[in-house]
């Protein structure tokens, strides 16, 4: 069986960027007129005519813009470090002249790690942004914006060389760091949900659900994708200082993690560190309606640390979303630092890359499907006794052996420490397989299903009836709850 590669099914084009530009991409979108619009590391916004291959400067002077939404052919909304800004070309000369502050109702300490992500726009035009926590890799600056409040340190304390011992690994010292905010088109801001560490990726799926990624580190054993709903808490406690219920001065670093575990909402999908993704970015639904291959409406998620885009297969179980992740695009010319995405009208996926001095890349690439269906896992659903796996094409004869489907389960600890090793690792025996009529769907029966584990599936020697081999053979399913709703997983917490 020959090695399969995603490059057999998709073609990749490198888009030349203007000479002299630092082409680290902070955001990508399309204007209704078909021009791509992109914001870059040094504060520029360019538009691009895909037909002519021409870039044109639209705006400049922005502060580390990390997200852009095109409102119309003359207007974009950009999230920069300091604010959400509506940028308009009022005189129609192709270059913006008006920069209106939509929202700057949040604090800044000047700490480098206080990146600001988004916006993601819902169907009503509300804009959602994510605010990073500060990093103990640096202190706060002498002048701040917004109220100072920290649970362990005074402003004077932040001047001491030992500040990092009391600040927390990632910390918040001004309002709404570690939050997702909701901002109406008129600029009214509502704090939406706390608990984030580095939410570098906000996106709505085609059904209007908000998904946000967060990055492995303190309180995150591995990187995560969350289905975000108002008022819920997503696990990193530094942001709780800005909730009404939090007692002023109470130090989350000294609170038992069991208390936070009881409050938190678990990730919809976990990305095993080192295996699936180390630094996930924007989630984007496949809105191509089939023009980009057999994954219509599924979510793709970028990954910074390797030449990869991940695909997510959601599964509604007992009323809540959980699901699986699988590599989608690996290598085959793709760069690292896959940061921002947008689908073109023709169903091609545009990719913008960045690094910001971490592992990553730079530039713009465009991925097109060549019309041949790759052999892939199309969906994965939990059943009472295992998983239902549907492939994009019928399975070839002989694929139904147990040893073609190896399951391992493990979990990542929920704790103050940085990341977590895989814990509780255990092989899970496949008790039986049953190929359903049509040959595309396989029922897999497992010996035991326990909430709170990742079920990692490694497939070997799988091919379709047309002889094409399975392209991506690694799938990781986040089993938060069983079909009966049981989600008890006390083992997750390091007390």
């Amino acid at each position: 069986m020959r090695a399969a590669g995603i490059g057999d099914y998709y073609s990749l084009e490198n888009i030349a960027t203007p000479k002299g530009l630092d082409p680290q991409v902070g955001g990508l979108d399309f204007m209704p007129n078909g021009r791509l619009v992109a914001c870059f590391h040094r504060g520029e916004v360019y538009t691009y005519d895909p037909g002519k291959g021409e870039w044109r400067l639209f705006a400049d002077g922005l502060q580390e813009p990390l997200g852009i939404v095109a409102i119309n052919d003359r207007e974009v909304v950009v999230m920069q470090r300091s604010e959400l800004t509506r940028i308009t070309d009022t005189d129609g000369d192709g270059e913006a002249d008006q920069y209106k502050t939509v929202c700057d109702d949040f604090g800044m300490t000047g700490n480098y790690h206080e990146f600001a992500f988004g916006p993601a726009r819902d169907a009503r035009g509300n804009l959602f942004v994510g605010l990073n926590l500060a990093s103990s890799g640096a202190s706060i600056r002498p002048e701040l914006r917004g109220e100072f409040r920290h649970y362990g340190l005074s402003r004077e304390g932040f001047k001491a060389s030992s500040y990092g011992r009391a600040s927390g690994r990632m910390y918040g010292a001004t309002p709404y760091r570690g939050w997702v905010l909701k901002i109406t088109p008129e600029g009214e801001m509502t704090p939406f949900a706390p608990g984030f560490r580095s939410p570098n990726g906000l996106g709505f799926d085609l059904d209007g659900r908000l998904f946000v990624t967060d990055n492995q580190g303190d309180w995150l054993g591995t990187s995560k994708l969350f289905h975000v709903q108002p008022g819920k808490f997503y696990g990193h406690p530094a942001s709780l200082a800005w909730t009404n219920k939090w007692k002023k001065g109470r130090n989350p670093l000294k609170v038992a993690s069991t208390e936070f575990d009881a409050k938190r909402t678990r990730a919809t999908v976990l990305f095993p560190h080192g295996l699936m993704a180390n630094s996930p970015t924007q989630p984007i639904p496949d809105s191509s309606g089939g023009k980009f291959g057999p994954f219509a409406a599924q979510l793709f998620v970028g990954e910074m640390n390797r030449a990869r885009i991940v695909r997510v297969m959601l599964d509604k179980v007992a009323g809540e979303w959980q699901g699986a992740c699988v590599p989608f695009y690996d290598g085959a010319g793709l760069g690292k630092g896959n940061h921002r995405f947008v689908f073109g009208k023709d169903g091609s996926l545009w990719v913008g890359q960045t690094h910001l001095a971490w592992v990553g890349g730079q530039g713009v690439q465009r991925i097109k499907w060549n019309g041949e269906t790759p052999m892939e896992v199309e969906s994965m659903h939990l059943t009472e006794s295992g998983f239902k796996l549907t492939f994009t094409k019928p399975l070839a004869e002989g694929a139904g052996h147990h040893d073609h489907f190896q399951f391992t389960r493990y979990y990542y600890g929920y704790r103050q420490g940085y990341g977590s090793p895989q814990l509780g690792t255990d092989a899970v025996q496949v008790g039986g397989l049953k190929l359903l009529k049509g040959g595309r769907t396989l029922m897999i029966y497992l010996d035991k299903l326990t909430p709170g584990y990742i079920y990692q599936l490694d497939m070997k020697n799988i091919a379709a009836t047309d002889g094409s081999p399975l392209v991506n053979a690694l799938v990781c399913y986040t089993l938060n709850r069983l079909t009966n709703g049981d989600d008890k997983a006390p083992h997750l917490v390091e007390k």
Binding site: R42, Y99, Y112
Partner: protein, 364 residues
């Protein structure tokens, strides 16, 4: 682009230093020259400076000097007798209406040779013979206001000190930090603005480089002007080359800094200012903010004949008295179109405050 236009043929005894980069070009020694002539190109650059701030010649040596105006405003170049640079530049200031016709070259005994005033993009060749008398002969732009910053020196039969200690070149050249690198696809342009981490400002600072090498830092976190400088713009690389853990460097010399906290005050009550953005006017931002429910606009533009800025405020339909902290005014030229200045606070009536201007100039 971005590299000073510079070309020179070496002759014995000729020794040129580029002030911008501290680059030293030493001539080959021990040979008799065939063509014993100094050829030097000097370009005028944004920020009121020549790119070559000194060169050497032997007494009586032939000189061919090409002045290239690479700036966006008019400049000339005038040689004076030793020690007479400031006297000649000051004499040019009083030429008044006669200035244009005289190319801003005063009738002064100390003037030796001069070029015409060159519009942007023009060039002119000046040929003369170096004085027989050894000495340090200054050259200076006598266009009004420029001479205090824009000068250099010809060393005739006198050895040069280290650049960093040379009192005959401008301070910026001694510091070697006037150079603006290229960071964008468009090369160099002014006006230019960056929202970037700046020293002595909040994390929501804005740096603006205006024409004529004039720059300021305006703080969107506090809705006020923080400081003003001339020279290059900023070095953003400490912020941009990493994940942001740095401050942009000010390229040039600060000559005014707001030492008073607080922004413009409208009416009696204290009120947190609310930043609302800006509109570009000829590429320059006109800031919009709200104080005490009142919309305030501030546009900062460069002055032309001296190093300085004009702050133009608009408070449409204002009905309340206004006060503007203007900070220290004793070390700069400070003027205001309306209101009363007392202890660093400019107070204006409701009507005066609807539109008023404040000037801050370098030269006292």
């Amino acid at each position: 682009m971005g590299v000073p236009v510079f070309k020179i043929r070496f002759v014995i005894g000729l020794f040129v230093q580029l002030g911008l980069f501290g680059l030293v070009i030493a001539p080959a020694l021990g040979q008799e020259p065939k063509d014993d002539r100094v050829e030097v190109d000097i370009a005028a650059r944004a920020g009121l400076r020549y790119d070559v701030v000194r060169f050497a010649a032997k007494p009586g040596q032939a000189i061919r000097l090409k002045l290239i105006n690479g700036d966006d405003m008019a400049h000339n170049l005038v040689f004076t007798k030793p020690g007479q640079r400031q006297a000649v530049a000051t004499a040019a200031l009083v030429l008044g209406v006669d200035g244009e016709a005289k190319n801003w070259v005063p009738d002064h005994d100390a003037v030796l040779w001069s070029t015409p005033v060159l519009p942007p993009g023009e060039q002119h060749v000046l040929q003369f013979t170096a004085p027989v008398e050894p000495g340090i002969y200054p050259y200076v732009c006598t266009y009004p206001g420029h001479g205090f910053l824009m000068y250099g020196a010809m060393y005739v039969g006198v050895s040069m000190p280290e650049l960093a200690t040379d009192q005959h070149v401008p301070e910026l050249a001694r510091q070697g930090k006037a150079a603006q690198k290229q960071f964008h696809a468009w090369g160099h342009k002014r006006p230019l603005m960056y929202r970037i981490f700046m020293p002595d400002a909040s994390p929501a600072a804005i740096a603006v480089g205006l024409k004529h090498g004039q720059n300021y830092c305006w703080d969107a976190g506090q809705c006020r002007l923080r400081y003003v400088w001339y020279g290059g713009f900023v070095d953003p690389s400490p912020v941009w080359r990493s994940n942001g853990n740095g401050l942009a460097g000010v390229l040039g010399t600060k000559y005014w800094e707001s030492e008073m906290p607080g922004t413009i005050r409208v009416g009696g009550a204290d009120s947190e200012p609310e930043f609302l953005g800006y509109k570009k006017v000829d590429g320059q931002p006109e800031f919009h903010f709200r104080v005490n429910d009142t919309d305030v606009y501030e546009l900062i533009t460069p002055l032309h004949s001296i190093i300085g800025i004009q702050r133009s405020f608009r408070i449409p339909n204002n009905t309340q008295p206004v006060s503007l902290p203007v900070g220290p005014t004793s070390r700069v030229t400070f003027e205001h179109s309306a209101g009363k200045l007392e202890n660093g606070l400019l107070t204006l009536s409701a009507e005066e405050a609807r539109a008023f201007t404040v000037f801050i100039g370098l030269i006292k």
